[in-house]
């Protein structure tokens, strides 16, 4: 059974069909790429999957459960976490706290226990610190745990965003242009990190990317979008050599 199953997903903004009849099947543990020229509707697909937009038509199923039309926070609780094209960190919080906010729904104590510092507060906070540091170690950010997120260099901010998304304990991770603005070295490093996350956390990853080196290097399957419609879908090697895809990117 597919982890994520999308059928006939459609949304229009005014007269524009931003996404039209989108469908996808992602199996558990897969590294899946969503590519296409600028304005093809890739980020709109992400926004539909995470409940930022409600689809006009179509159905989204996560592990067989229908999650179409749920609110963003409920979709996150159901098991989809994402990062953003333009990094959205909690800038005035420390690196550690950014991850701890991600852990929010997995560790509980009441407001009263927090305000009056009852024993449960210390116990749970300690557990949260431990778990957050574990995650930061994976991304080699443990040395910067006390820094404000805004003081991190760009590449590390990208990593922190992934760490925060993973902290919510998702089944499916959506990465929106993780390599945007990175140099070839950083991109290479990021490819290793993404593979590592997949293996270490047994994660399924869907990513949007323009960097063809990254796409061909780590994605097993691809879907190509153009003008909101699926151009082609299949194994990476086949798709990238498809003349239609080359035309869409380079023109006639």
């Amino acid at each position: 059974m597919s982890l994520l199953e999308v059928r006939n997903l459609t949304i229009s903004f005014g007269g524009l069909r931003a996404v039209d009849d989108f469908h996808i099947d992602i199996k558990k543990g897969q590294l899946y790429g969503l590519i296409g020229p600028n304005g093809a509707g890739k980020t709109t697909v992400f926004n539909l999957l995470t409940g930022v937009y409600k689809p006009d038509e179509g159905i989204i199923k996560l592990e067989g459960r229908d999650i179409t039309g749920l609110k963003t926070i409920d979709i996150n609780k159901a098991g989809i976490a994402r990062t953003f094209q333009n990094i959205r960190l909690f800038k005035e919080l420390t690196v550690l706290d950014n991850v701890k906010v991600g852990l929010h729904n997995h560790y509980h104590y009441s407001t009263v226990e927090g305000i009056f510092r009852l024993p449960k507060y210390y116990k749970v906070e300690k557990e949260m610190d431990g778990r957050a540091m574990e995650l930061l170690k994976v991304f080699e950010l443990d040395g910067e745990a006390g820094y404000l997120a805004s003081n991190l260099p760009y590449g590390k901010q990208r990593k922190l965003e992934i760490a925060r998304a993973l902290a919510t304990g998702p089944k499916l991770l959506l990465l929106d242009e993780p390599a945007a603005g990175m140099n070839p070295n950083e991109t290479g490093e990021l490819m290793d990190t993404i593979r590592f996350v997949r293996d270490q956390f047994d994660m399924t990853i869907l990513l949007i990317e323009h960097d063809m080196k990254l796409v061909s290097g780590i994605c097993e399957e691809l879907t190509v979008l153009n003008f909101g419609r699926i151009l082609t879908q299949g194994k990476t090697g086949t798709v990238l050599n498809d003349p239609q895809v080359i035309t869409a990117y380079l023109g006639e």
Binding site: N76, R82, F84, E92, Y107, A145
Partner: protein, 357 residues
């Protein structure tokens, strides 16, 4: 690294507590030695009120990141609900118990209004939110001004017209008399009670900030869309911050009501002037900086009184100090200059600050 950060926040909070405590001791010594004018004595309780208001508004403006201009309205709710209770219960129970209950009632009523107003209002953002909260503050004040409540042997009577339409029995008593407000509230507020309330407000707010809920609130401030995407319930945490902020303002209102024998809702005490003044404390003390709001509230309350000798130029100097403080705190040149000074004289501390904040 982790340990360092923990001690840093804890240390910062401790400094704030100690500062308030030392101020209390200093005033007590001055009082005991008789080195304090009667004018200043009269200012002690209002000082506590302003500090509480500034600290509570900082929770909304600095921590939740929403501009609210209706804070005096919540203070008004706290003041009138508690004064009403105290007036009714005067003599029916020991003074201490009555004041404690009045405090809880005032804070709860203001918190309830915070939720009531917060539900529709917190859907708005930025300027719009500020305008609507401003309107709500005014509405509360004006409603209180046309409120008439009386009591006789048949129970409570209520009117929005005038005191005659309450149709009280002969021995009946008007408790809330419209624009004349509530007269004869017991005089329970003291400086010590004020300081205790400041401590309680600080404990609530500082501990809230450094907890799971506080992190959720600040994540909404920093990036609402990202907070939603990682499963933070935006409405719940906005309302939580807003209502806690409102109930502390309500507690300040209780203190206010029990410091005066006549409680009336005037533009001066519960109008938008007051809301703006609280906001000035917060902005000058540093948005999100709790200790800063305390200091700003104290300085800006004392300043006009200390300048009283200059009579005509008093408000002029007050305004100049405001502008100077604003420039000193926020102007890029002043900030850069402060950085340079720090680098020259405290290079070590600066490095530490960059690392851990």
């Amino acid at each position: 690294m982790k340990k360092m950060k923990m001690t840093k926040t804890a240390k910062n909070n401790l400094i704030t507590y100690i500062m308030v405590f030392l101020a209390y001791i200093a005033v007590q010594i001055l009082l005991a030695t008789g080195n304090i004018s009667s004018l200043m004595k009269g200012l002690l309780v209002p000082l506590c009120i302003y500090v509480m208001l500034a600290v509570s508004l900082n929770l909304t403006v600095g921590i939740l990141g929403e501009l609210s201009l209706g804070h005096a309205g919540f203070m008004c709710v706290g003041a009138f609900s508690s004064a009403f209770f105290s007036k009714c219960m005067d003599g029916a129970m020991p003074d201490g118990v009555r004041f404690l209950l009045a405090l809880l009632i005032g804070a709860a009523a203001a918190g309830f209004f915070g939720i009531l107003i917060g539900i529709p209002v917190l859907r708005l953002k930025g300027d719009y939110l500020a305008i609507v909260t401003l309107a709500f503050g005014e509405i509360i004040k004006n409603l209180v001004n046309v409120l008439y409540i009386g009591k006789d042997k048949n129970g409570f009577h209520f009117s929005m017209k005038d005191s005659i339409s309450l149709h009280l029995e002969e021995e009946g008593q008007v408790i809330v008399n419209g624009a004349q407000g509530i007269t004869g509230t017991p005089h329970d507020a003291t400086f010590t009670i004020g300081i205790i309330l400041i401590f309680i407000s600080l404990i609530i707010i500082l501990n809230l900030i450094n907890s799971r809920d506080g992190r959720a609130i600040m994540s909404i401030r920093d990036n609402r869309i990202a907070a939603e995407s990682i499963g933070i319930n935006i409405t719940k945490y906005k309302l939580m911050a807003f209502s806690i902020s409102a109930s502390i303002a309500g507690a300040a209102g209780v203190l206010y009501a029990h410091n005066l024998s006549t409680l009336t809702a005037l533009p001066k005490n519960f109008g938008y002037n007051m809301s703006i003044m609280i906001l000035v404390f917060v902005v000058l003390g540093g948005i999100g900086n709790i200790r800063g709001s305390i200091i700003a509230a104290i300085i800006l309350t004392l300043l006009p009184e200390l300048l009283r000798g200059l009579s005509d130029y008093r408000m002029l100097i007050y305004a100049i100090v405001l502008i100077a403080m604003m420039l000193f705190n926020w102007s890029p040149k002043a900030v850069a200059w402060k950085e340079r000074l720090k680098e020259r004289y405290f290079p070590k501390r600066l490095r530490k600050e960059k690392e851990v904040k």
